[in-house]
Symmetry: C2
Subunit: 258 residues, 2 copies
Amino acid sequence: MSVDERREQLIAVALELFSVRPPEEVSIDDIAAAAGASRPLVYHYFPGKQALYEESLRRAGRELAGRFEEPPEGPLSERLHRVMGRYLDFVQSHGPGFAALLRGGSVAASAGTSAVIDEVRRAAHDQILGHLAIPDPSPGLRLTVRAWIANAEITSLEWLAERSVPLEELQLHLVQEFVAALVLTAAREPALGAELASFLADERPDGPTGRLVHDLAGLLAVPGITEALGTLAAPPAAPVASPPAAPVADGPSPQAAE
Amino acid sequence: MSVDERREQLIAVALELFSVRPPEEVSIDDIAAAAGASRPLVYHYFPGKQALYEESLRRAGRELAGRFEEPPEGPLSERLHRVMGRYLDFVQSHGPGFAALLRGGSVAASAGTSAVIDEVRRAAHDQILGHLAIPDPSPGLRLTVRAWIANAEITSLEWLAERSVPLEELQLHLVQEFVAALVLTAAREPALGAELASFLADERPDGPTGRLVHDLAGLLAVPGITEALGTLAAPPAAPVASPPAAPVADGPSPQAAE
């Protein structure tokens, strides 16, 4: 093996071990044994376990970020659904390492490992904003995207620990939560209304958004829900005996947010 | 000062310093100086900075968890709104320490600091489920609660870094995101429909849920949105030339999720 080949092989072997065990349970001896190399040879290439851990993380981070890439074609929710399929596949195959990395508090956590996590999050954020194709996204929209990415991370971690729902359900739910977060953001920021309309116009009844709309329509059939929403949406009645209510954002007027 | 008083004073001083600076920027000398004590005296009470850091974190964690306590009275979203006011007040006053703790990758991160974070998260989770008062909450509902807690954390962190919106807006948005997450969960789990109806029936038009309903109603007035939702909600048209569509969750039927 050439020097470069040996180095690549050690990283690949380390990544495999760090994927299935938390870093504190992987030793240089384990890596040497799995690579069919001697301990001094591993040290010849890497100053220690931490350096090898960080290098294998960087590779994993790059691979994960690569999975976020998706051609800008078809309904948005279906693009995100495909990406989440690849993401969750990664989570499943790198479970213990993914968990150890994101749970933090690991002895191997460092500025280097934080940088890898930040970079993957940034890649996800940039991909999503790219697909949304909204020029000059507002701070509120950026926050929505980041918060949803955090949601996807924590949900994946919980899933790894309990596996209480099928992975396909998780995939669909995460996409639908993104759609819901987008709707909520547009409800607060009237400037996004037109973008939301064009996003919805491209969606399909049997896609993630269509299925969400179906499920929500089903909820409206539950006794009491439509009535309660009607009461909440109605303009407040003229006060009778109580003091006048403080002015409240009153719905449709887009000026309210300007 | 008695032994106990001195110990408490050192913890209080340390907590104050760790609140305003990341742990790596606080030394035992800083703590001794702020407490008007000598370096050996600090070491007499604590084996080192890490122990003092973890003890002050435990105190902060207990204080934060205490802020989650709220009497079970009034509309749910208004209770959560009050809790979030106290939570964000804590975030604001302990900003740099809160950020260093949650960002992880800090040199001071350890099993001890992770345990504090986990305990605060568990307290938040238990409080919320207690207020929801849903007997035997499903794995999906628990996941919704945990994911929302993660959302609150990341949103607070982002806010600390950029302060791009007023804190009161963040408070309202987080509560409304919880309401939306609850609606989404009920849309997936028909067993929760009746609980959602009774939750909505208790809400008020000028509370966080009422204001969300108003904003969403406003969104329906944006040209194209009602039409797009109507198309998505309509049962798929009989296929003409294309092959028959795969069966899709078709809305109202509660059996679908059983």
